[in-house]
C-alpha cells in the first residue's frame, strides 16, 4: 500500500496497517514528485491533442487574420490590422452583429421564460410528467437543418399547414408569405429556435428543481407562504445557478446558429436576418478569403468571450447564496 502513496486518495496515506514502517520524509517527497510527474505524463496525450486541435487552430486563426492568404497561388502577405480595420468600419458587419445580438437576446430570453414554466410544471414526479418530459426531448433530438426544412414546408404559403389552419380559424385573411416580410420572417426564425431549444433549457432547470431540498418548501408552506412568494423568494433564487448555466449554454449555441437562417431565409428578406455566421460561411467556405473570414471569426470570438463572463455575473450573481 505504501508503495503507491503517489496516487493514493487523500487520507489513506496516514492509515498504517499493522507491520508497516514509517518511512523517512525525503523518499516520500521523491515519491510524491514522481507521482506528480506520472500525473502530468498521463495528461500529456490529451493535452497534446488539445493543443493541436484547439490552441493550434486558434493561433492559426490569429495568424490568418493578419495576413492576406492566397490558398491557390499568388503571394500571401502580412497586412497587419487591415482585415480588422475593414471589418470594424463595415456597415454590413455591424448590421449583422446587431442582428445576431437581437436574435440571441430575444430567442434565449423567451426560451428561458418558457423553459422555466415548463420545468416547474413538470417538476412533480408523476407518471404523466415523466411521459411529458420524454416527449419534450423530441424537438431537441431533431437535427437543426431538418427542423428548418420542416418549418419551411409548414410555412409554405401555398401548401403549408400554418396558413391553412390559421385561415380556417379566421386568424389569417389570405395566403401569407411568412418569409417575405422582415417581421414575419423573424417570427418564424425565433419560433423555430424556441421550438427546438426550449426543451434543452427546460431540462436543465427541471434537473435543478428536482435537486432542491424539499424541507425548505415544506417550511415555507408551514409559515404560510403563498405560491408566488415561494416562487419569488425561494424557488427562483435557488434555481439561479441552473438558470445561469442554461443562459450561458444557450447563448453560446444561439450565437453559433446557422442552419435555420440558411435554410429558411438565407439572410433575407433583404438583409434583415443576415446574421454573422452567414457572412462567415460565404467569405470563408465559398469565396475562401481566409484572412477576412478569420478576422470576423476572431472578433466574434472576442465578443463572445467578453459576453459569457458578463452573462454569468448578471444571471448567476445569486448562484451562490452563501456568498450573497
Amino acid at each position: 500500500m505504501t508503495s503507491q502513496t503517489g496516487i493514493a486518495p487523500p487520507g489513506t496515506r496516514d492509515q498504517l496497517a499493522p507491520g508497516d514502517r514509517i518511512k523517512p520524509l525525503a523518499p516520500q517527497r521523491a515519491l510524491e514528485r514522481r507521482g506528480r510527474s506520472i500525473g502530468w505524463a498521463l495528461l500529456a496525450p490529451a493535452m497534446i491533442l488539445l493543443l493541436l486541435m484547439t490552441v493550434g487552430p486558434a493561433i492559426f486563426l490569429i495568424y490568418s487574420s493578419l495576413h492576406n492568404i492566397q490558398m491557390f497561388g499568388g503571394a500571401s502577405g502580412f497586412v497587419g490590422l487591415r482585415n480588422f480595420q475593414e471589418l470594424l468600419t463595415d456597415a454590413t458587419f455591424l448590421h449583422s452583429l446587431l442582428v445576431t445580438l437581437a436574435f440571441v437576446v430575444i430567442a434565449v430570453g423567451i426560451e428561458l421564460i418558457v423553459g422555466l414554466a415548463l420545468a416547474l410544471a413538470l417538476a412533480p414526479k408523476t407518471r404523466a410528467n415523466g411521459v411529458a418530459a420524454t416527449l419534450l426531448l423530441l424537438p431537441f433530438a431533431v437535427t437543426p437543418v431538418v427542423s428548418a426544412m420542416v418549418f419551411k414546408q409548414l410555412l409554405d404559403p401555398n401548401y403549408g399547414w400554418v396558413n391553412y389552419y390559421l385561415s380556417k380559424v379566421g386568424l389569417l385573411p389570405g395566403q401569407m408569405d411568412w418569409l417575405a416580410n422582415p417581421s414575419t420572417a423573424w417570427i418564424a426564425l425565433v419560433a423555430l429556435d424556441i421550438w427546438q431549444w426550449t426543451p434543452f433549457v427546460a431540462l436543465i432547470i427541471l434537473a435543478g428543481r428536482q435537486t432542491l431540498p424539499q424541507e425548505v418548501f415544506e417550511a415555507a408552506s408551514v409559515d404560510g407562504s403563498r405560491p408566488w412568494q415561494t416562487f419569488r423568494y425561494i424557488t427562483l433564487p435557488m434555481l439561479a445557478p441552473f438558470l445561469a448555466i442554461a443562459v450561458v449554454l444557450r447563448s453560446i449555441q444561439a450565437f453559433k446558429t446557422f442552419d435555420s437562417f440558411q435554410v429558411l431565409t438565407g439572410g433575407g428578406p433583404g438583409d434583415s436576418t443576415e446574421i454573422i455566421n452567414l457572412g462567415i460561411y460565404r467569405t470563408a467556405l465559398q469565396s475562401f478569403q481566409v484572412g477576412a473570414a478569420s478576422a470576423v471569426g476572431l472578433v466574434f470570438l472576442l465578443i463572445l468571450s467578453a459576453l459569457v463572463p458578463l452573462l454569468l455575473r448578471v444571471v448567476g450573481r445569486n448562484a451562490e447564496p452563501e456568498k450573497g
Binding site: 508503495s3 506520472i38 505524463a41 498521463l42 500529456a44 496525450p45 490529451a46 497534446i48 491533442l49 493541436l52 486541435m53 492576406n68 490558398m71 491557390f72 497561388g73 499568388g74 475593414e86 463595415d90 454590413t92 409554405d156 404559403p157 401555398n158 401548401y159 389570405g174 395566403q175 401569407m176 408569405d177 418569409l179 417575405a180 416580410n181 420572417a185 431565409t265 438565407g266 439572410g267 433575407g268 428578406p269 433583404g270 438583409d271 443576415e274 460565404r282 467569405t283 467556405l285 465559398q286 469565396s287 475562401f288 478569403q289 477576412a292
Partner: protein
C-alpha cells in the same frame, strides 16, 4: 513494485506514441490529404484513376453509366466520388489548397474557376500531343462554343477576362495565341429554360377560350409581352392556378433570374464587364427589376411565395401543378397529384434581346495528380461525343453540338424527354454566363439582396441598383480588385 513501475512507463510510452500518431494523422487528414493507393502497373498504366464529381447538379448517374465502358477502353477503373453541391465546393477547394494528389480529375463549376486557375493543369500541351489523343478524339471544335469558352478557357494570371470571341469554333492555336489556356472540358451545362404544361396549352377548351379573349391562337410565349398575356389568362387563384414563377428570394437564384431579365431588356447579362464596370446599373437593369416587381404586384401572375422563392421552391410550384409555366435550371417532374400532366420546354421569353443565364461544369486535371496524362485521356474520353450520346439516356445536359443535333433527332429520346434537348440546345446558344470573379458568391449575394428588396417593393428599382453598386464595389475592393471609380 518495480514491475509495476515498468509497466506504467511502458503504458506512458505507448500512450505518447499513440498520441503522436493520432496527432500526425489528424494533421495530415486535415491539411495534407491522404495519398491515394493508385500506382503505375507493369503495363505502364495506373492501377486506377479517381475523380471528384457532383452528385445531382452535374448528373453523376449519367457518368456512372459509362464507367464499365471506361474500364474496357482503358484497362483500369475510374472511381467516381460524388458530393452534394456545397460540400463539393469545399472538398474541391480543400483538395487543391492542400495540393493533394488523391484525385486525378476534379469537377469545377463555372463560378469557382477564376479562383482555381493556378491549380488546374493547363491542357493545351496535351491537346496538341497526338500520342495522348489516340484513345479519344478531343474534337474541341465540336463543343458548344459558349459552353466551352465560358467553362474552361481562362487567362491564368487574369482570370476576370472572358474569351473575346465566344461564338467562334474552338481552336487550340487561336486560344493560346490570344493568351488563353484550356483548363478543362465541359461535361454538363445548365441553362435557364422555360418549362410549360403541354397538356394545358393543348387543351381545346383553353385554346378556344384564349382565342375568344385575345383573337389569336394560344401559343407558348415567345416574348415578355406574350408571357404577361398568357400568364394572366391562366392565372385563376380560385382554381389554385397561376401563370408562371419568379425566383425572388435572397440567393444566387434571384441574381440569375435578374441577369436573365437584364439581358432580355438589352443589358449586359454578365452583370459586370471584364474591367469591373457595374453593367447591371443601367436603364435595362431598372426595366428588369420593374418587370420582376410587376410580375408580383401589377400583373399578379406568380403564386404567393414568389418574393421568397428559390430554385427548389419554384420547381415545386410547377411540379405541384400550381403554375402553367416556370423558368428554372431544374428539369421538371410533375408530382403524382397532377394527373395526365405533360411537360414541354422552350427558350425563356425575350424582350428587346435575349440572354438566359447559363453555367457549366468542366472536368479538369488536378495539377498535383501523379497521372496527369492519363487523367487528360480519361477526360477527353468521358466528354467525347460517343460517351455523351450514351449519357443523355440518363439526362446528361450535353456540351457538344453534334450531341444536341443527334439527341434532338432521336425518336427514343424525344419520346422519353419530349423536346427537352432541342430547347436546351437553343437556350444554350443564346445563353449568357457569369462575371469571372474570385468572390462571385459574395457579389451575387450583394445583388440578390437588392433584387429581393425591389421585387418585394421595399425600395424602387433604381434605389436597389444604386445600393447594389455600393455593396458590390465594396465587396470587390475587399478582395483586392481595383474597381473603376465610375
Amino acid at each position: 513494485m518495480n514491475d509495476h513501475m515498468i509497466s506504467r512507463r511502458r503504458f506512458l510510452s505507448y500512450a505518447g506514441a499513440a498520441g503522436a500518431v493520432a496527432g500526425t494523422a489528424a494533421i495530415s487528414g486535415c491539411t495534407l490529404g491522404v495519398p491515394g493507393d493508385t500506382h503505375i502497373t507493369e503495363s505502364g498504366r495506373p492501377s486506377g484513376l479517381r475523380a471528384l464529381y457532383a452528385t445531382v447538379e452535374a448528373n453523376a448517374a449519367a457518368v456512372q453509366s459509362v464507367l464499365p465502358a471506361f474500364r474496357e477502353a482503358f484497362g483500369f477503373d475510374l472511381t467516381l466520388d460524388t458530393q452534394p453541391y456545397n460540400a463539393l465546393q469545399q472538398k474541391v477547394f480543400s483538395e487543391l489548397a492542400t495540393r493533394s494528389p488523391y484525385y486525378d480529375i476534379i469537377i469545377v463549376d463555372t463560378p469557382w474557376a477564376p479562383t482555381l486557375t493556378r491549380v488546374l493543369e493547363p491542357m493545351s500541351k496535351y491537346l496538341r500531343d497526338p500520342k495522348l489523343n489516340q484513345l479519344a478524339d478531343p474534337a474541341i471544335n465540336d463543343f458548344v462554343p459558349k459552353a466551352f469558352y465560358d467553362a474552361g478557357v481562362f487567362k491564368i494570371d487574369d482570370p476576370t477576362a472572358h474569351y473575346p470571341e465566344p461564338e467562334a469554333a474552338p481552336n487550340i492555336d487561336q486560344i493560346t495565341a490570344k493568351g488563353f489556356e484550356v483548363l478543362g472540358l465541359p461535361i454538363q451545362t445548365n441553362v435557364l429554360m422555360m418549362g410549360y404544361r403541354k397538356d394545358i396549352f393543348d387543351n381545346p377548351n383553353e385554346q378556344a377560350a384564349f382565342r375568344q379573349q385575345h383573337g389569336r391562337p394560344l401559343a407558348v410565349p415567345d416574348t415578355l409581352d406574350d408571357l404577361v398575356t398568357v400568364g394572366r389568362f391562366f392565372t385563376r387563384p380560385e382554381q389554385r392556378l397561376y401563370g408562371t414563377t419568379l425566383m425572388g428570394g435572397v440567393g444566387d437564384w434571384s441574381t440569375c433570374d435578374f441577369k436573365s431579365y437584364l439581358a432580355a431588356f438589352g443589358g449586359d447579362g454578365h452583370l459586370l464587364s471584364d474591367d469591373l464596370h457595374m453593367a447591371f446599373d443601367s436603364p435595362a437593369g431598372v426595366q428588369a427589376l420593374q418587370f420582376m416587381r410587376d410580375l408580383v404586384d401589377k400583373y399578379n401572375i406568380v403564386p404567393p411565395g414568389s418574393e421568397s422563392a428559390s430554385w427548389d421552391d419554384t420547381a415545386s410550384m410547377f411540379d405541384g401543378g400550381l403554375t402553367v409555366m416556370s423558368s428554372n435550371y431544374h428539369t421538371f417532374e410533375l408530382s403524382d397529384t397532377v394527373r395526365g400532366g405533360q411537360i414541354a420546354y422552350a427558350v425563356v421569353p425575350k424582350g428587346s434581346s435575349q440572354g438566359p443565364h447559363f453555367g457549366s461544369y468542366m472536368l479538369s486535371i488536378n495539377k498535383y495528380s501523379r497521372f496527369k496524362e492519363w487523367a487528360y485521356q480519361a477526360i477527353t474520353w468521358i466528354t467525347g461525343a460517343q460517351q455523351q450520346m450514351t449519357m443523355v439516356q440518363k439526362e446528361l445536359h450535353p456540351t457538344r453540338t453534334s450531341v444536341y443535333e443527334k439527341a434532338s433527332a432521336d425518336s427514343g429520346l424525344t419520346e422519353k424527354y419530349g423536346n427537352f434537348y432541342s430547347a436546351l440546345g437553343k437556350s444554350l446558344n443564346v445563353g449568357v454566363g457569369r462575371p469571372r470573379l474570385t468572390n462571385y458568391t459574395e457579389v451575387s449575394h450583394d445583388i440578390a439582396v437588392q433584387v429581393n428588396n425591389a421585387v418585394a417593393g421595399r425600395i424602387s428599382p433604381q434605389t436597389a441598383l444604386t445600393a447594389a453598386v455600393t455593396d458590390v464595389r465594396d465587396t470587390l475592393r475587399k478582395a483586392d480588385y481595383t474597381v473603376p471609380s465610375t
